[in-house]
């Protein structure tokens, strides 16, 4: 499977989108070019505010601006939006339910920047915060259409964003819709629920699994909170042999946990198998290496399916659609992170 690669999907799209929205401001914590908003700053210099490397303070400024009717869009790496400034995010922004947009880059283990740059528990932490809306993009179409979705939410929104060279998996005319799962395939043997880059990865294996006669309902999730799209419940109910979740995140507190909650509350007894980081920190290495090391790749998905079915499917690694090679030195990013 090969997809169109969109370079810097956010950069120009965000500029065009913000043109007729004077209330939209950008606050940045010294990662402006890394978050594809350098050109935005140069286009709208009076709406861009450099806050320096001081994320806790940035949260407070965003809160004040939002209280006064502006709509601040904070841009930095995900880890710097919810780890150190968590208290400020909670008390200054989430409690008063302010319209602040947190655009976080480098989700999960996509970066060789190591443990300090890998947001592996952001969804888990943010899911526990009342009033938060949590969105995650899985391709370029979602990276570009998430803006309207976030803008329409009356409260704080966290966006798990992609940058650089991003695949376009979903048609441009099928934009991101709040709290709406995408049904990528249907079938009654297994239900597969994926999010973010795990969807592209899972799609390497799904056709082969189907080729083995397996009926797979595959949902792509882009809204982690709220999480009550009835399509999810229906897909979980239909799974004959089991449910698999796959996420670029810890299995604790993220998509896998959200699915477990829905299953438990609805007495769905199919076995649940969660692919993701198994309660561990990671380290700095290439995305491909880490996805293999931590069992987040298409091969790991095949193995999970085999485990659930209790039989080998005879799918070789070489049968899987080629993994998109990720060039860490791509000129679509300002650094190799």
């Amino acid at each position: 499977m090969s997809y169109e690669i969109v370079t810097r999907p956010h950069q120009q799209n965000f500029i065009d989108w913000a043109k007729d929205k004077p209330e939209v401001l950008v606050l940045s914590a010294d990662l402006t070019n890394s978050c594809e908003v350098g050109k935005w700053r140069d286009t709208y210099p009076t709406r861009f505010f450099s806050m320096g490397m001081a994320e806790q303070n940035m949260m407070g400024f965003a809160a004040g601006l939002a209280r006064e009717g502006f709509e601040p869009w904070l841009h930095t790496f995900s880890v710097f939006l919810y780890r150190r400034p968590l208290d400020q995010l909670q008390m200054s922004i989430a409690y008063p339910a302010l319209k602040v947009r947190l655009v976080g880059f480098l989700p999960g283990i996509m970066t060789p920047g190591g443990v300090t740059h890998q947001a592996i528990e952001d969804i888990a932490i943010l899911r526990t915060i009342p009033n938060m809306t949590i969105l995650e993009v899985g391709d370029a179409t979602e990276a570009q259409s998430v803006l309207d979705v976030a803008h329409a939410v009356d409260g704080p929104v966290y966006i798990r964003m992609l940058r650089g060279e991003v695949s376009r998996i979903f048609p441009v005319d099928e934009p991101f819709k709040l709290n709406t799962a995408r049904i990528l395939s249907t079938g009654n043997d297994l239900t597969l629920i994926t999010s973010g880059i795990a969807t592209e990865e899972a799609l390497r294996a799904v056709p082969l699994l189907q080729g083995n006669g397996l009926g797979i309902t595959h949902l792509h999730i882009s809204t982690h909170k709220p999480f009550d799209d009835p399509k999810i419940l229906a897909a979980l109910r239909s799974a004959k042999h089991g449910v698999i979740t796959m996420e670029n995140h810890s299995v604790i507190g993220g998509l896998g946990s959200a699915v477990a909650e829905v299953m438990a509350e609805n007495s769905i007894s199919a076995p649940l198998s969660r692919i993701g980081l198994q309660d561990t920190y990671a380290h700095g290495a290439s995305q491909k290496f880490l996805m293999s090391e931590y069992g987040l790749d298409a091969k790991a998905l095949v193995e999970r399916v085999e485990r659930i079915l209790g039989k080998k499917l005879g799918i070789q690694e070489s049968d899987l659609a080629e993994q998109r090679s990720i060039n860490v030195h791509s000129s679509a990013k300002v650094e190799a992170l």
Binding site: D30, L31, M53, P112, G114, H283, G284, A285, V334, L337
Partner: protein, 323 residues
């Protein structure tokens, strides 16, 4: 352009008269060689990887050469250590995890400790370790390689690191705790923290400065690469931190302001024995030794070549460096 974008250095008034007699000429020459070696190695690496943290080598070469070249009283390393493979993250009950502090030699009551704070300077730190015989000569070949500890952003298993500080401005507080522990044990050795100036934008830095002076941690030292630059460009266009010396001093610290490319000034400042914690602010030039880097101003933080012509220019600069 370039260098002149960076504030014409305002520290002249702050600068103290330095007694360069404290280091003999052989020391200075050795450190100069180390500094030159750091720039050379980092440029060579950047050329072969089409990218890297180059300006940090330009600004901090003398600072690190001075520290590793004799200013720090570190335990000896018998022979250059192999770059270790990554053996897994720290886990409760498993005590196999080894920090990169081994590259600083054995710990001891009379030895100094060095905590590296700006983890993106890792490439420069590794180069310094190689130049001073602590990391194996080919160590940079393991840089950012899958399964290696020679990570792009150093973590506590990476050579020369013993804390995980890629989320910047967390090292000084931890070093404060280490210095406090050493004080409680009556140890003589000093605890040093190498910092970048961008870290003075984070509130935690100022909380740590307060606590260090409040608890009279007189053996705590910070040495800062004040290159007046950060990711988005010159610091005064991103979030000004000046007057830095005055501000740090007002938090109860002794402050020395030095030319960060003058080994003798760094050495002299490092020898001051004060009753307060001591900060050495090294004002540096982010393109020192590689003037063509100034063409990339205002953003110098990460170097990646935009054309083969540009790359060729850096190859020429490298040839000149090795002459």
């Amino acid at each position: 352009m370039g260098a002149c974008l960076f504030r014409s250095i305002s520290y002249a008034a702050e600068r103290q008269l330095m007694n360069s007699a404290v280091a003999d000429n052989a020391d200075l020459q050795r450190m100069e060689t180390i500094a030159h070696g750091i720039r050379k190695r980092v440029l060579s690496h950047v050329l072969s990887n089409n990218g890297g943290y180059m300006s940090q080598a330009c600004s901090a070469a003398e600072l690190l050469a001075a520290l590793y070249g004799g200013v720090l009283k570190l335990g000896p390393v018998e022979s250059p250590i192999d770059p270790p493979q990554f053996m897994g993250v720290p886990k409760i009950g498993e005590h196999t995890y080894q920090t990169g502090a081994q590259f600083h030699g054995p710990k001891g009551a009379n030895f100094d400790r060095l905590i590296v704070s700006p983890a993106h300077y890792a490439l420069v730190v590794y180069a310094a370790l190689i130049e001073t015989g602590r990391l194996r000569e080919d160590g940079l070949e393991y840089f950012n390689r899958d399964g290696s500890t020679v990570e792009m952003i150093g973590a506590e298993h990476s050579p020369g690191f013993e804390t995980t500080t890629g989320s910047l401005a967390q090292a000084l507080s931890q070093a404060g705790g280490i210095a406090l522990a050493r004080k409680l044990r009556g140890e003589e050795g000093r605890t040093w923290v190498f910092m970048s100036d961008g870290e003075f934008q984070e509130g935690q830095t100022w909380e740590a400065l307060s606590a260090a002076s409040f608890h009279n941690l007189s053996s705590l030292r910070i040495i800062v690469d004040v290159n007046q630059a950060q990711c988005d460009g010159p610091m005064e266009t991103v979030m000004a931190i000046e007057p830095l010396a005055e501000r740090v001093r007002s938090f109860g610290w002794d402050v020395s302001v030095v030319d960060g490319h003058s080994l003798s000034e760094i050495i002299a400042a490092s020898q001051s024995d004060t009753a307060k914690p001591h900060a050495i602010l090294c004002y540096t030039d982010p393109v020192r030794g590689l003037p063509i880097l100034a063409e990339r101003a205002p953003t110098l933080h990460y170097l990646r070549f935009t054309s083969t012509a540009e790359r060729a220019k850096y190859e020429d600069a490298y040839k000149e460096m090795v002459q």
